[in-house]
């Protein structure tokens, strides 16, 4: 509804004139009477102070005046909001973690669901609708249907996930549906502003874009890092938690860390507006599951908790096959520094496959046996050319590390690999069983320096650099750490290895059991599928995959600053530009003449009322 002549509203001043006339009349109203002696006992009143009590005639005159003014401003009715019958509807509903943020009137997701419910209620009988949820990936929650109860039931069953938002795929999916069905209306309900939706602005105009939420009150753990030197005691581990205040005002929070069910640390944090605080924790009392949490009453709770894993300290148990006396001495020194370690050194000619039995890992220095060790994980250092495990393409001099897979478990906690320079190295080929995890470069080109993978059910790694003594010198320390990190990965028990994942991100699970799953939402928050198995966590938390005794730990966290930064400037709602078909009726119907007709009727009524009052 609108008006053609908004300036006509100035005529409302006539209402004030009418009121003033009445007030003036009240003061001047004279009632002639035959005598006043009967009124002597009635106290005189101060009429100006009396409350204004409009009579029926005044109300009629007021209604008449308002009707005339309403006719003068020429109001009209617009039917644009009413969809034409037979218009399909696609509703894209954001179910990412930020939709769990509390707002006035409920969470953002509840507000969005309420609006979606209203959109579905507007559907004409027989109109079809589709529900698409958008989180890390799109999901068709309900295919095209005209069953109103099924739509409503599906909508009510939806819940927001703990994953980041990728709205663009869901919007593209909806646009595809709209292209397949011309005239389809598109509606998206999200907390992301339109400019962050990920699709082009001209495509966005097809949507009825409803942005919800405004609060920025959130404090989150945006990262949790466990630094555990290889083959060191548990107490040598350190944990770094990154806590960030996303609000525009300062906040106080309490940070707590629990490991293995035992409280480890509790700190009070004072966080200035939009500040980041690094919380460093040292000397854990034990190994096991690490739970870090923030005790703070903010709008978004899902990022107030993070989980990690502190592995139990395991000594070095290694068979070293090398002809280098210096290297044997160096590993002896390393083993002596790590309590409980055991390093057996054999030369190449004395090597026999049965020598590796009972060892947790084996290191072959410049040597690849013709008969591979049957049941042990092995690291091949400086493999010779033409071996059957680690193919090399050429020898390289003066190579330096330029890149590495920091997420790979073998490189966990290693930050200074760019300082690794080796005088002689072999450029490895990428084998079918593994992938390069450290890349180095020389003058000619980059090449894999370390490849790792699984071959015949065992872990295998190939390192193209030569291990030369002294290993513990400062120059060679990065190479030693790389070697030990790789050996740790090779030596760690399969069942005890924890897999840290981020919610919504597909992660290769690797060999091992894929069911049953225990964890948040009775394990429903973690999905495992495919061969090789890939897992995706929809809910943050600790999961266990596999039968009791052979469980594998999966630690799912929401570490996404974009998702945790929930502050929005304002609520936005924009209507589609052209997608919806035109209304069935005339777009604008003026009703000003009806106002004039009403005024005429009111005038007649007022005249009759005045006559009756006069006759009375």
């Amino acid at each position: 509804m609108g008006v053609v002549n908004p300036a006509g509203a100035l005529a409302l001043a006539a209402v004030a004139v009418l009121l003033a006339l009445y007030l003036l009349d009240r003061r001047r109203r004279v009632v002639p009477l035959g005598t006043l002696f009967l009124w002597r006992h009635v106290p005189a009143a101060v009429l100006e102070r009396r409350r204004f009590r409009p009579d029926a005639l005044f109300l009629l005159q007021l209604a008449l005046l308002l009707a005339l003014i309403a006719g003068y401003v020429r109001p009209y009715l617009e039917d644009a909001a009413a969809p034409a019958p037979g218009t399909p509807l696609v509703v894209v509903l954001d179910v990412s973690a930020s939709m769990q943020a509390r707002e006035t009137g409920g969470t953002r997701f509840e507000l969005a669901r309420r609006r979606a419910r209203a959109l579905l209620d507007e559907l004409a009988s027989g109109d079809e609708a589709m529900l698409i949820t958008a989180a890390e990936r799109p999901h068709v929650a309900l295919r095209w249907t005209s069953d109103r109860s099924a739509l409503r039931a599906r909508l009510e069953s939806l819940e927001p996930l703990d994953t980041p938002t990728r709205l663009a795929p869901a919007l593209e999916l909806a646009l595809g549906e709209a292209r397949a069905r011309p005239g389809t209306r598109l509606a998206v309900l999200t907390d992301l502003p339109p400019e962050e939706s990920g699709i082009a602005p001209d495509e966005l105009t097809a949507f009825h874009y409803i942005q919800l939420g405004a609060t920025d009150d959130n404090v989150a753990i945006t990262a949790l890092t466990v630094d555990q030197p290889p083959f060191q005691a548990t107490t040598d581990a350190t944990v770094t938690a990154v806590v960030r205040n996303f609000a525009a005002t300062g906040r106080h929070a309490t940070f707590e860390a629990w490991v293995g069910g035992e409280r480890w640390e509790r700190r009070e944090l004072v966080l200035p507006p939009r500040a980041t605080e690094h919380v460093l924790l040292a000397h854990p009392p034990r190994g096991g599951e690490l739970v870090a949490s923030l005790l703070v009453d903010d709008a978004l709770a899902v990022d107030d908790r993070a989980v990690g894993w502190i592995a139990p300290g395991e000594p070095l148990d290694l068979l070293l096959v090398s002809d280098s006396r210096e290297l044997a001495t160096a590993f002896g020194e390393v083993a002596a520094a790590i309590g409980g370690s055991r390093v057996e050194v054999v030369t190449r000619d004395r090597y026999a496959p049965n020598r590796v039995a009972g060892r947790r890992a084996a290191l072959f220095d410049g040597f690849v046996p013709s008969e591979l060790p049957p049941a042990v994980n092995a690291l091949y250092v400086a493999p010779p050319a033409g071996n059957a495990v680690c193919a090399t393409s050429r020898a390289v001099d003066s190579a330096a590390v330029i890149d590495w897979e920091s997420e790979h478990p073998a490189l966990r906690g290693l930050d200074a690999l760019d300082a690794l320079v080796t005088a002689h190295a072999s450029a490895l080929d990428v084998p079918a069983w593994g992938a390069p995890i450290v890349l180095a470069a020389a003058r000619h080109a980059a090449f894999p320096l370390l490849v790792a993978g699984e071959r015949d059910g065992h872990r295998v790694a190939c390192l193209g650099a030569e291990l030369a003594a002294p290993l513990t010198s400062s120059d060679r320390l990065p190479l030693l750490m790389l070697t030990l990190g790789t050996l740790r990965w090779l030596a760690e028990p399969f069942a005890g290895a924890a897999l840290a994942v981020e919610t919504g991100a597909p992660t290769l699970l690797g060999p091992g059991p894929t069911a049953p799953i225990q964890g948040p939402s009775l394990g429903a928050g973690l999905h495992v599928a495919g061969d090789p198995a890939v897992l995706v966590a929809d809910r943050a938390g600790i999961y266990r995959i596999g039968p009791p005794g052979g469980e594998r730990l999966v630690l799912a966290n929401l570490f996404d600053e974009r998702e945790s930064d929930i502050g929005r400037r304002d609520t936005v709602e924009s209507s589609p530009a052209t997608t919806a078909p035109p209304p069935t009726a005339g777009a604008r119907r003026e009703i000003g003449w009806w106002m004039y007709v009403a005024a005429a009727l009111l005038l007649a009524t007022e005249w009759i009322a005045w006559l009756r009052r006069r006759a009375a």
Binding site: R26, L33, G34, L38, V42, P43, A45, L47, R53
Partner: protein, 349 residues
Amino acid sequence: MRLWPSAPRRARETTRARHVAARAAAFATRVLGAGADATPGVLAARLLDPARLARYDGLALRVRRGMGERHGERRVPGRPQPSGIELEAHGAYAPGDDLRHLDWNALGRLDALLVRRFTAEREVVVHLLLDASASLAVPAADDKLGGACELAMALAYVALSTGDALRVAVLRGDGAAERAQADGGAARIFRQRASVARVAEMLAAVRPEGSFGLGTALAAYAARHRTPGLALVISDFLMEPDEVERGVHALRSRGYETHLLHVIGAGELDPARIFTHGVLVDVESGARRPIALTAAALARYAAALAAHCDALGALAARLETGYARLVTDGDVAELMTGPLVRAGLVRRR
């Protein structure tokens, strides 16, 4: 003596009444058609409405005092006179008495000269004293003047229908109007039934204006009209009861039988019909008083009005004066056949 007229007589009276009503209607038409002021014309037509007047047929005024000097149809027992129709008493003969009324039988039996005395038959003049002060015009919605005129017309019709003489006096400020009418001489006393139209014309022409003291006006009237009669004072009596008492005393001292006919407006009984707030102005004195009609104010006014009416009633009872009240939204015919009959002013023939 026949208490009720015979059927042929009733029929004759009815025919006569219809004739009078027809003449009255013709008069009203003439007035309206002559282009006179529409309001008097309408009022006259209303006063002369045949259907309305027919309701008063069969009524007569009851008169106990105020016998006039002229011979008339009213028999006045207790005041025997030498001539007449109905024998009332005997008296000793005195020289000069008419020998035709000497009772020869009594002379033969008693050897005493006795003459017959007859019941006096006199004319009774009904004085319709209509208050035409400005207060009769307000509140306009009440139309007190119209009600007063209608009541006066009903009484006049009854009086003229039963052979009584009628004098209509409109009391206005300083009595000028009444004097002007009196200057018309005997013509101002109506004795013919056909004069009903004239009376209606006179009543319709009344314009309320000015103010005066009712007591003074009535005293002046009594002083000018020494022959007593039946004084019917029609007023709103919006004055102190002492003023009314002074007038009633003056009339009674001249031998008038007096009745006070109180015309009260419906808006005066319930002021909420007229206003909720405003400056009240006395149309006669010009005094002003701002009033907001709250529940408390309404209660106080109602109490004052009730006290005033009670005082008038007590005054009438004390002075042996009739008192009746007409509310403007009431029916005059009901008043005539109900309260005025009970008050002893009207009787059925």
